[in-house]
Symmetry: C2
Subunit: 326 residues, 2 copies
């Protein structure tokens, strides 16, 4: 099954999620409604809502669960949006997905309260489920995500970031919300505990693979595909896996050029030469191999779910992440 077929299979529900998002983003404030519109129009893969919906097929919640799943899927996307809007302030990013960020289009002030509003709206939606297990998982996820945000700031421009530290950070920044999405969908559909546990592990590995690939694409993607300049992470001082491999195992010249770049002693042309040097150093292949390892683990978890027809969607999804170039 190809990824487009997965999206096709959930077309109606994903359409309902968009409608729900539009409703949730409407506010008494015209400016905030406009900012919401702006975020919605920027699109995105809606990976998290899709995972809520797919996970919802592992239980037998019936028609009643269907509407709840759409609501939950929209809420999870709101959390994701909230973190992006605040991250863009913290990272001083002006472009995302080829569009101006909220802070660039308006200002940091608007982005602060827009992000607060998005998160608050999501909390309010999810509290309506009145399920303490959901509330606890949500609080833990939001807490860990904010720790990830903090850690990323502390690690900026540091050449001594270890792979372990990097994994911990992307777990917090990405994998846990993806895991929460799957948990939420499975829970709403009344999925048995053991299956929920497997689904969570699948989602965790998939989320890790997703972020490692994302960090690789930041180096290897073209600006047209990325919607932002390539090498953005490095320029912002964000030391991701390709940089970590280069720093620990690259050839001495590239290694010291990268250190110098992190200390800010590089011109634009030197930075471009550096990106090429990192490419030649084998760091991209090594990074890809790490992503493969997470993909492989995710697939292994799926073996145990093969009795469920919906597992084929998850297979297609992780296969897409394995191959994705955007």
């Amino acid at each position: 099954m190809r990824i487009v077929e997965v999206y096709d299979a959930f077309q109606d529900d994903l359409g309902a999620v968009e409608d729900r998002l539009e409703l949730l983003l409407r506010s008494e404030s015209p400016l905030l409604t406009e900012a919401g519109r702006h975020l919605l129009d920027a699109g995105g893969k809606r990976l998290r809502p899709l995972l809520v919906l797919i996970a919802g097929r592992f239980g037998d919640g019936g028609a009643e669960a269907a509407e709840a799943l759409v609501r939950a899927a929209a809420a999870v996307e709101l959390i994701h949006m909230a973190t992006l809007v605040h991250d863009d302030i913290v990272d001083r990013s002006d472009l995302r997905r080829g569009r101006e960020t909220v802070r660039a289009r308006w200002d940091d002030q608007v982005a602060v309260y827009a992000g607060d509003f998005l998160l608050a709206r999501a909390l309010s939606e999810l509290a309506a489920f009145s399920d303490p297990a959901v509330d606890r998982a949500l609080a833990r996820t939001v807490h860990e995500m904010s720790r990830g945000e903090v850690e990323q700031q502390g690690d900026l421009f540091r050449p001594d970031v270890t792979m372990l530290r990097y994994f911990r950070r992307i777990r917090r920044k990405t994998a846990l919300l993806i895991e929460f999405s799957v948990f939420l969908g499975a829970r709403i559909a009344g999925t048995p505990e053991a299956v929920v546990g497997r689904l969570r592990r699948y989602a965790f590995y998939t989320g890790m693979a997703f972020q490692v690939t994302d960090d690789l694409l930041d180096f290897t993607g073209t600006p047209e595909v990325l919607g932002k300049p390539s090498g953005s992470d490095l320029a912002q001082g964000n030391v991701t896996l390709p940089a970590i491999f280069t720093l620990s195992e690259g050839d001495p010249a590239v290694r010291s050029a990268l250190r110098a770049a992190l200390e800010g002693r590089k011109t634009e042309a030197e930075r471009e030469a550096l990106l090429e040097g990192i490419g030649r150093s084998g760091a991209f292949e090594r990074t890809h191999a790490v992503a493969e390892r997470f993909v492989c683990r995710a697939k292994a978890v799926l073996q145990g779910l093969s009795a469920y027809p919906a597992a084929r969607y998850l297979e297609a999804l992780v296969a897409f992440i394995e191959k994705r170039t955007f």
Copy 2:
């Protein structure tokens, strides 16, 4: 009973709340820990924790509830701190309680993730109670607070803000978190529903009185007492009750001077003359009368709780708010 006696009666628990706050504000990030320390040292009345603790005396939770109340009290103060840190970004405020704000001491970027972290920490603490009623009330409160933050921005520099709009905004910005504090304490202590309802109403009126008084003191307090220049709200375009009264009922000269000030056409000296004009217009007395009305309603609600010894703390608290000058 005087307010100092109330604080004395809860001295041990409030001390435990400070210890708990210190623990919660510690983070793996040295910078964030320092920012937390900075916020903690700035002090504050700890009104919300105090209300959690007092409300906890209306049930019979026993020793087990005592520790839970301290945890809940600290969590509520964290929510309050989180909103202050983000509000200061949105309002571009450099001073609060006579100290530099987080954004002034560090920058907006740090203030964004510090605020996110504080809120996330609080959510995580409160989710530990595994009480869907608490989670729902919390989500509603955070959601309404963010709507209040948004509304305040939309109303900036607008001379047509009505009293009703003002009440709605301060309800969201202040009264609901105070109401939530009391709800939380009462709930943890296992207080009967009917009493919880009364306590909430008391807290709501007290919260409204508190904010109206706060907005009055912004005009009438000295910079030494306020820890920031007097007339700050007006300078920031925040149209509060004294300004609303002046705009609707002040004498024509003061009224048009105020309109001009909101359009930014005033020098510093003209602003000072304006503050005096507002003082002479009777707006302060009218604002005080509104605060009195809320105080009176809070006291009326307390009549129905006179069988409870802890009600005397609530009486002292609202009496303090009635008279407070700082």
